[in-house]
């Protein structure tokens, strides 16, 4: 066990001293990774916050419940009861047909129309605000209410929510594609750096193999180098991300205050931070794994 730990600690130490010696190029490498990785990070935070902002907006989606003209007292009471007990309903209010009629009459222009009619054609109505802005919940709620006794029409005003939701989902998909593309680019960049290191240590690798080094032994320091680049790059990405958010919040505070809103971009959560750094490490590790394996099979072709 101790031997096993040492076998990993030793190359790690070697790699760290090597990186310290080439501090500038190591730093550059981490910066390249950091900038590249922070790009999708920033986009993610923007989209994430847009989603939250949409949740905050006052004009929440509404379901209008138009009741049958000849609705019975019991049905009305029943609807009232169901609305009160439904867990998805945030609040609702009732507008009687008379109130609606008065309102219509009050409105300029409409009074003529009202004058033409001698009877109030408007139905009683409920206006329901659901708790969730999730389009699926709203759709479900709407069709549920449509089936209630005494309801003529349940109309959901959820189109814009749906649209925003679609855009946000699209944005998240775009980020995913961007991440994949950038990951390929980073693998190429890290792979190239590792390849150059392998070339400068070619002799060492060859001699090591001649005196009994396994491929794992040869691979280990390069894998650690890749992972270290990843760690540095991940931390750099995180710093850039936090920096951008701070900068943004600094200027957004004034505008938000004007609108009496306390909207701020949120800092990446612990989970998001860990995910950023871990994926950067795995990316570096993977890049050097691919590169070293290619170099090793090349070596093997040249010898024996």
């Amino acid at each position: 066990m101790k031997k096993w730990i040492n076998q990993h600690l030793h190359p790690l130490k070697t790699v760290l001293t090597r990186m310290k010696r080439n501090f500038i190029s190591t730093l550059m490498m981490c910066c390249v990774m950091g900038v590249t990785l922070s790009l999708p990070g920033v986009l993610y935070i923007i989209i994430d916050n847009l989603g939250k902002l949409a949740g905050n907006v006052q004009s929440e989606p509404q379901i209008s419940l138009f009741l049958k003209l000849d609705i019975s007292k019991e049905s009305l009471a029943n609807i009232e009861k169901q609305l009160k007990s439904n867990p998805d309903v945030s609040n609702y209010h009732f507008e009687s047909k008379d109130d609606a009629w008065q309102e219509l009459k009050k409105n300029a222009g409409a009074s003529d129309v009202a004058g033409l009619l001698d009877k109030n054609p408007l139905p009683d109505a409920y206006f329901v605000n659901p708790k969730s802005i999730d389009p699926n919940t709203i759709n479900r709620l709407q069709s549920q209410m449509q089936n209630w006794e005494g309801v003529e029409l349940a109309q959901a005003d959820a189109n814009w929510v749906k649209r925003l939701d679609t855009v946000l989902k699209l944005g998240k998909k775009a980020i995913l594609i961007l991440v994949v593309l950038l990951a390929f680019a980073l693998i190429a960049v890290i792979g190239n750096t590792i390849r150059l290191q392998i070339l400068t240590q070619r002799e060492e690798i060859e001699v090591s193999k001649l005196i009994g080094a396994t491929n794992n032994f040869v691979r280990r320091p390069f894998l650690y180098a890749g992972a270290m680049y990843g760690l540095g790059g991940g931390i750099a990405a995180w710093i850039i991300l936090v920096g951008i958010i701070r900068l943004f919040n600094f200027s957004v505070v004034e505008i938000a205050d004007l609108y009496a809103s306390n909207f701020r971009l949120e800092f990446p959560s612990l989970t998001v931070s860990i995910v950023i750094i871990l994926s950067a490490i795995s990316l570096g590790w993977l890049a050097s794994f691919i590169t070293v394996n290619r170099a090793l099979s090349q070596f093997e072709k040249n010898t024996t």
């Binding site: 031997k3 040492n6 076998q7 600690l9 030793h10 002799e203 060492e204 060859e206 001699v207 090591s208 193999k209 001649l210 005196i211 009994g212 080094a213 396994t214 491929n215 032994f217 010898t303 024996t304």
Partner: protein, 226 residues
């Protein structure tokens, strides 16, 4: 423990370096491999150390057929050998200590244990005071001895030396030969390639003579005392 049976070796785009070579080496033997330049001495040693594979015939190392060995098993076989290469193969960007320590790191020995053994090996070849020196600053003889230190630090069962006295003066040469004898005395099998067998041989040795890749002599000589 080492058995060659009808072994031939042909490098790509080259003539046969070894032709139908058969011999045995017992554990603890001292073996000289001699022959003119290009006779195939280095090739023979590389086949023993599992660095090259035979084109035809079988090479058995402790009952393992190296042609049939899994790729992943070869490193572990190579660790049984301490090899002093004809061209040293020292790492010129590492100091003496690191050069010797490489063998131990490969064997999974690190830390204090490694430091102790590296210093002991350097001490044995008289290079302890040059621990931090880069190999390029060493004389030819010192580089040779550094290569020996790297070969023996892993306590190999078989020591292979390819012209270890190549371009050294007589004093150095006999010093290094004495060193190799000392290893044989403690049970290590020692195989040395050389142009000429030294006049003074302290123990019975086996001589394998090669000419243009063919084994022309396989004999035991009696040990002589001075």
């Amino acid at each position: 423990m080492i058995k060659f049976d009808q072994v031939s070796k042909r490098y790509p785009k080259s003539q046969e370096a070894l032709k139908n070579v058969s011999f045995d080496i017992e554990q603890g033997e001292f073996v000289f491999v001699t022959g003119h330049s290009g006779a195939g001495k280095s090739t023979l040693l590389k086949l023993i150390a599992a660095i090259e594979k035979p084109t035809t015939g079988t090479v058995l190392i402790g009952n393992q057929n190296i042609s049939k060995l899994r790729k992943a098993a070869i490193p572990y076989l190579r660790r049984k050998f301490g090899v002093i290469f004809q061209d040293h193969k020292l790492l010129y960007d590492r100091n003496c200590y690191e050069n010797v320590a490489l063998t131990l790191y490969i064997n999974g020995v690190t830390g204090n244990e490694a430091a102790k053994r590296v210093r002991a090996a350097l001490d044995k070849v008289g290079l302890l005071n040059k621990e931090k020196a880069m190999p390029i600053t060493l004389s030819g003889g010192e580089q040779q001895r550094l290569a020996i230190a790297r070969a023996v630090v892993g306590r190999p069962a078989i020591l292979i030396a390819d012209e270890p006295t190549g371009n050294l003066d007589e004093n150095y040469a006999s010093e290094i030969m004495a060193f190799l004898y000392a290893f044989q005395q403690v049970g290590v099998t020692v195989i040395v390639a050389t142009h000429e067998i030294p006049d003074v041989v302290k123990t019975p040795v086996k001589v394998l003579s090669l000419q243009h890749g063919e084994l022309t002599l396989n004999s035991m000589t009696k040990g002589m005392t001075e």
